[in-house]
């Protein structure tokens, strides 16, 4: 049992923290968010150059053989600076699907150039009725000659406007919520029949509503096995949850740092408000919450590759529950302790709060994951 970083990991940590420090000052981020894309190609090129895009992929897949620990190091730093570049949809989700389910040909055609920084991905799985049930899939993929025709609507697809390839969960068999009969497809984002409605999200990212109208996809577009895509997809989402938790830990630490600084300097009634015991104890609870979030994220980081599927799922859901609880407490407390300034667009605090709020929902609410954890843990 060893919970310390290796020298290589320490170097990665220093590198990404330097990037955030130098390239992601809050006002810089505001400008990046206001660009058409909502993120900077120069930054993405740097990610590729520094090897961050291939960090967690095996050497065989053209990566650098890192794992979730390295991914968590990057994501935590991204969270601390509210980095806007689409690492999560492109590398963690799209790249993850290819790494765990892609054919040699798909890896060569899509994963390699993604690692090189030439390709962007989006993953379409949310539907208006589906909430957090990954098996609730109404989008259909009908056999069509040698291939398939996809039809239906997917919602809140992050990075769709910038994506070259969109990964879609579609129903090839079974009823709307059957676990069997779901297939993952990789379709060209420019394919005929795809229409998008793009919009910014509350936390300054970009997403789209994507409609598929008889979009044809060849048999070679299937990622993993036909009808058995759910396990693959759920596994990738569970890994993405751990990465997201690491991002949230970065957000919380940054927020606590800002709040602590604020209550040390902000004066009322002639003294810094940090002298008031009620705020002191609340600040202590903020730190405790962030520590617990970090501990659960560490646990999930180290267990997400466990041989036992139940252990992996429990790890992801347990961490998501903790991140939700801690993120809400830290975020709401930061705003409250900042007083009026905390509810303005001017300070960074409200932007961290908004990101933590969206993280709370992304990949399933804490309530959803508490139920999932409970069902996994209490089964006789």
């Amino acid at each position: 049992m060893d919970l310390s970083y290796s020298d290589e990991q320490k170097q990665i940590k220093e590198g990404v923290e330097r990037f955030v420090r130098e390239q992601y000052a809050f006002e810089t981020r505001r400008k990046i968010a206001a660009t058409d894309r909502g993120w900077l190609p120069e930054n993405w090129a740097k990610f590729a150059e520094l090897g961050w895009l291939g960090m967690s992929f095996s050497e065989d897949d053209g990566g650098f053989g890192g794992g979730m620990v390295e991914t968590a190091i990057l994501m935590e730093a991204f969270g601390s600076g509210l980095v806007l570049e689409p690492y999560l949809p492109t590398v963690i989700l799209g790249g993850g699907l290819l790494a765990s389910g892609g054919s040699a040909a798909q890896k060569e055609a899509l994963l390699a150039p993604m690692i090189g920084g030439e390709k962007q991905f989006a993953v379409a799985y949310v539907e208006k009725q589906s909430r957090y049930n990954l098996a609730d899939v109404a989008v259909t993929a009908k056999k069509n000659g040698g291939g398939y025709a996809l039809s239906g609507h997917k919602g809140v697809v992050y990075n769709a406007a910038s994506a070259d390839t969109i990964f879609v969960t579609a129903r090839t068999a079974g009823g709307q919520r059957d676990e069997k009969g779901i297939t993952v497809f990789a379709v060209d984002a420019k394919a005929k029949g795809i229409t998008r409605r793009d919009y910014p999200t509350q936390d300054a990212l970009r997403a789209s509503e994507v409609t598929f109208d008889n979009v044809s996809a060849g048999a070679d577009a299937v990622v993993g096995q036909v009808d058995n895509g759910l396990a693959l997809f759920e596994g990738v989402i569970d890994r993405a949850i751990v990465a997201l938790c690491a991002e949230a830990v970065g957000c919380m630490d940054a927020l606590n740092k800002q709040t602590l600084e604020y209550i040390k300097t902000r004066k009322q009634f002639g003294v810094p408000i940090g002298k008031f015991q009620v705020l002191q104890h609340r600040m202590v609870d903020c730190f405790t919450n962030a520590q617990e979030a970090r501990s659960m994220t560490l646990m999930a980081t180290l267990k997400i590759d466990d041989a036992d599927a139940t252990t992996r799922k429990k790890a992801a859901s347990g961490a998501k529950v903790q991140i939700g609880k801690s993120g809400k407490f830290v975020g709401q407390s930061a705003v409250q302790m900042h007083g009026g300034m905390g509810v303005t667009d001017e300070l960074a605090v409200s932007h961290y709060f908004k990101r933590l709020t969206m993280i709370d929902t992304l990949f399933g609410s804490p309530q959803h994951h508490l139920t999932r954890y409970g069902n996994l843990s209490m089964a006789a």
């Binding site: 809140v156 009026g340 905390g342 932007h351 929902t361």
Partner: protein, 398 residues
């Protein structure tokens, strides 16, 4: 002890319902029902309708042109208005400066200002907080220096709500820099058109513009605009804040908020069933509804004590604490209810009433902005930490 309304009360409720039905423009009711933001004209149309009926200043005594309603009648009026999606009454004139003027102002001021408040022909705003003063109101630094028959005002105010729509502002200013913080403060009425006043928007976390900073650069204010005595503004300010705290529980609004949540939960699905049938979410709704009921009966007890002749004591501070916590909880559960569709940010629809198809259900895109915005309710009007200090000192004697 009896909850039942008297026949007179019931007749009164029907009268109010009939009035709202006949006088509340449908387009305004729709905006309120869908949580859309109102523009100045929306507020004015409704408030002027109430004004013509003599009901806008429904908390005022008869002799100042109010209806002189009983506590029960006020309760009925507020609930009927909320149930029928009437906009909340902007408090700065009718609930804040009005009572200050008729309680502490001179006859000339009453004659000059009260009619415009009763009719809502004049829009008032508040000049209390200052950059850096926060909950420590008495630390204000805006100066008013007497020069002949004018005060010359210099300084700035912040968290000024809807000042960009206002005709007049009531301000706390320092007329004696040498006195102790809570002394040397005076209460001035200032025409927003006076040269030297500039209004700078503050953008909120939800992207909206509802508050401002107001800057005063050698603004000349006639001495007759001083309310009461010079140096006693702090007394009037506390009087005003006490009135503010009472309404701030916002019980009728929270009751409507819970009903809206139930509607959303009937529309949303989880695993193919309506969300309202989800055990966990149902528990949260039930718990929230019980919290609102507890707050309502706490307020009723306070009102009934007032009816028996008491004034609102410091205990009303906890109506503010719980009322604000409940408003936040409602907004929080709405975000939970709409799931992924809380994420799209739709400013055109949210702020500019653009005629666009919303992304996701119409109720979804407002959920997160309202949650972000509602964080202010535990901060303004004296943060909840301050409110607890007040109760601890004034009620518990700690």
């Amino acid at each position: 002890m009896d909850l039942a309304f008297t026949p007179q009360d019931i007749a009164f409720r029907d009268e109010v319902k009939a009035f709202v039905k006949a006088n509340l423009p449908q387009d305004i009711a729709d905006k309120v029902a869908h949580g859309k933001h109102l523009v100045r004209d929306d507020h004015m149309r409704w408030q002027q309708a109430l004004g013509r009926q003599g009901w806008l200043v429904y908390t005022w005594p008869k002799k100042h042109g109010g209806p002189g309603w009983t506590v029960t009648q006020r309760y009925i009026f507020e609930n009927v208005c909320a149930d029928m999606n009437a906009p909340g009454i902007i408090p700065f004139g009718s609930k804040m400066v009005g009572p200050v003027i008729y309680t502490f102002g001179n006859d000339e001021q009453k004659a000059r200002f009260l009619p415009g408040i009763r009719e809502s022909s004049v829009w008032w705003c508040q000049g209390y907080s200052e950059p850096g003063s926060g909950s420590d109101l008495a630390s204000l630094r805006t100066r008013a220096v007497r020069e002949g028959d004018h005060y010359v005002v210099n300084g700035s105010k912040t968290w000024n709500t809807m000042g960009h729509w206002a005709d007049w502002i009531f301000c706390l200013v320092r007329t004696d820099a040498s006195a102790k913080p809570q002394e040397g403060i005076s209460f001035l009425l200032i025409d927003m058109k006076t040269p030297g006043i500039t209004v700078k928007p503050i953008i909120m976390a939800d992207g909206g513009h509802e508050v401002n900073e107001v800057f005063f650069d050698n603004v000349k204010v006639p001495v007759e605009n001083l309310v009461g005595k010079e140096g006693e503004g702090w007394t009037y300010a506390k009087f005003l804040l006490a009135n503010e705290r009472l309404g701030i529980a916002a019980v009728p609004q929270s009751k409507r908020g819970v009903d809206t949540l139930k509607q959303i939960a009937r529309n949303e699905t989880a695993d193919g069933k309506p969300l309202i049938e989800d055990q966990d979410f149902r528990n949260k709704l039930a718990d929230l509804e019980i919290q609102v009921t507890a707050l309502e009966y706490t307020e009723l007890r306070a009102l009934s004590a007032m009816a028996a002749g008491g004034a609102p004591g410091p205990e009303v501070s906890f109506l503010k604490i719980r009322g604000s916590e409940i408003q936040q909880r409602i907004s929080e559960l709405a975000v939970e209810a709409v799931g992924y569709y809380a994420m799209p940010y739709h400013p055109a629809l949210l702020w500019h009433g653009a005629n666009e198809e919303p992304i996701g259900p119409a109720y979804a895109h407002v959920a997160a902005p309202r949650y972000f915005n509602a964080r202010k309710t535990t901060i303004y009007g004296g943060s909840n930490e301050i409110q607890r200090n007040v109760i601890s000192k004034m009620v518990l004697g700690l």
